[in-house]
Symmetry: C2
Subunit: 334 residues, 2 copies
DNA sequence: ACTACCCGCGAAACCGCTTTCACGGATCGC
DNA sequence: GCGATCCGTGAAAGCGGTTTCGCGGGTAGT
């Protein structure tokens, strides 16, 4: 908007017969201003339709009121309802604290990439990261003093504030459940193993296997990318290479649904021939047929936890990492 | 970040032996600067790790590089995968043009509400609106010169730039399809009738009914809110009040799935007893059983179209409203 | 009545960029 | 050789707030 298009403090000050500093004091709730002057300022604001310029305020105060929500992936991730849900959890907490969400969905890449440049530009007061493949940027930003939270356990630096779900426990429970139902050959379709969550889910699956007295063959472990298509693709691979396959643990519901789609198209009934368990408990899990047995995580709460940790840092308060529990939801597919 | 924590133009200028204006010219690509001076500036930037302060630049230039994406609803909307998908379309186009997305999910409310205040604060260069219940704020912002786009046909002001899907045509096709399959008593579960999209879908349904020679009873028209739960609730109502019900057109896939859940729980098979059609063609439509017959809209393209219209306005280019087609996707439920 | 202290308020500096306008040197034309 | 014009560059104003520091008036204590 062009200069003069909307009133500034100068105009309000002139109208109210005070200085600009007084206008600033009044509008920022400084109680030391004489009530009569304060009243005149408020009248002028009302009369002239004044709106504070947040950009100028940000420059002067060093605070923008913006928090970046960074998803280290490409935009296709939004086909997974997980992202909308977790983003809504984050947004709710930020909005309640008068903050706004800048959404960045892009490979985080190098320390000199687009996301890195943006986060160092002073336009956001903090950042919340999802799906991190490396702690490098996060470590760099932390050194620069930017408040931040990652969702998922840090790769290397335990100093990084984080929130997570009990990935290991959930995967372990899912695999145990399949084994308890008589499955002998349980495959896994993981997420991107570059992320700690995917690795922890793999570890939970391996631990359950270990406890059964043996380990899965290499061919039972497929690296997906959390997409429906990768679930389909890897289920196809498992069908073709593992004739005795009788169970699949997919690291999210979308891949589980992809797997079920391929299994049933191939004449393998679920759960008759192959039992399937997912992770998330998205709506798709309950409306599919067979309804999906899955590991439920509270995705809204995960987002809210992340939002709460960033707020605590902005307020200079203490905080602890938060790890949310998971629970097995038994439906038809296992 | 505190003053002195990171280098400014003053430091770069001193190191390079030029003025701050020259530093600004070089970093903003002004070719008139002598190459040798430009080289010295770039060296200083590299050596000192300079990052431009976007807040200061925004104040000086009047451009922040931020676009608000405003959803006139509460955060529970994100349980509908539509929102993640359309937001990803918008974000992709904005990111390609060097812009960032500020996500605001909140009832838009009055001209003096939180959303209104924010949008008038100068922190965003434009706004894209979803699910508008009133054009009042949009009209006010347009008068103030804020570039904006709404998704959905404007309530009253044809001057407002908008993108939309062919809601009327899609709903008409859905209802026609049900009737062509022999349905005599077709109910509709609408979205929030305060939005033009929901109203257009209702109108499409009514037009198909009109062409069949009669109109639906009042009891066949239920106002939902696009949520799974409201689909369940209204299907229950239709079952209880319309004994001859043999078809349902739900205005989105979530409500359709909700309806199917209730119908089957009540022993009414789909499509045996009651045929169901949805709208959107989300993944849930293809993975449910019965797989959902639905009206497909290209949600990513809708988001991209909105992004393109805001970019055109920012660049001072001409543009036309964009209305995307729909198509019937026949699966098992009808 | 005088001195010391307190407090509300205003002028102006500052935040860190962008952009304007003026200056001086170089170049070109007569 | 001189005058006119052009262009690269720097000083500083401006964008619109926040905050600091000093001033003057009022009050309290001796």
């Amino acid at each position: 908007m062009v200069p003069g298009a909307r009133p500034t403090y100068a105009v309000i000050a002139k109208t109210a017969g005070v200085s600009e500093a007084t206008v600033s004091r009044v509008l920022n709730g400084d109680e030391s201003v004489h009530p009569e002057r304060a009243r005149r300022v408020q009248e002028a604001v009302e009369k002239l339709g004044y709106k504070k310029n947040r950009v100028a305020s940000a420059l002067a105060s060093g605070r923008t009121g913006l928090i970046a929500v960074v998803i280290d992936d490409d935009l296709s991730v939004f086909s997974d309802p997980f992202w909308g849900t977790v983003t809504s959890g984050v947004s709710r907490v930020l909005q309640e604290n008068g903050l706004h969400t800048v959404l960045m969905v892009s490979p985080v890449g190098l320390l000199e990439g687009g996301v890195a440049h943006y986060l160092k530009s002073g336009e956001v007061d903090g950042a919340i990261f999802f799906v991190l493949h490396s702690d490098a940027l996060v470590n760099d930003l932390k050194k620069r003093g930017l408040p931040l939270v990652i969702t998922g356990t840090p790769h290397s630096n335990a100093d990084i504030p984080f929130v997570d779900t009990d990935n290991f426990g959930g995967a372990y429970t899912a695999t145990k459940h399949l084994m308890n139902q008589g499955c002998k050959k349980v495959g896994i379709i993981t997420g991107d193993i570059g992320t700690t969550a995917a690795k922890q889910r793999l570890d939970g699956y391996l631990q359950a296997y270990r406890e059964s007295g043996h380990l899965p063959g290499k061919g039972l472990i497929c690296e997906g990318d959390y997409s429906f298509e990768s679930g389909k693709r890897h289920a196809q691979t498992l069908l073709e290479t593992q004739p005795d396959l009788d169970g699949i643990f997919a690291s999210n519901d979308l891949m589980a649904m992809g797997a079920i789609t391929v299994l049933e198209a191939a004449g393998k009934s679920v759960p008759g021939h192959v039992r399937v368990v997912g992770f998330d408990d998205a709506l798709i899990a309950q409306t599919s047929r067979p309804a999906l047995t899955t590991i439920r995580q509270d995705v809204v709460a995960l987002g809210e936890a992340a939002g709460s940790l960033i707020i605590a840092q902005l307020n200079g308060e203490d905080f602890e990492p938060i790890i949310l529990p998971t629970q097995l939801v038994i439906r038809e597919s296992a």
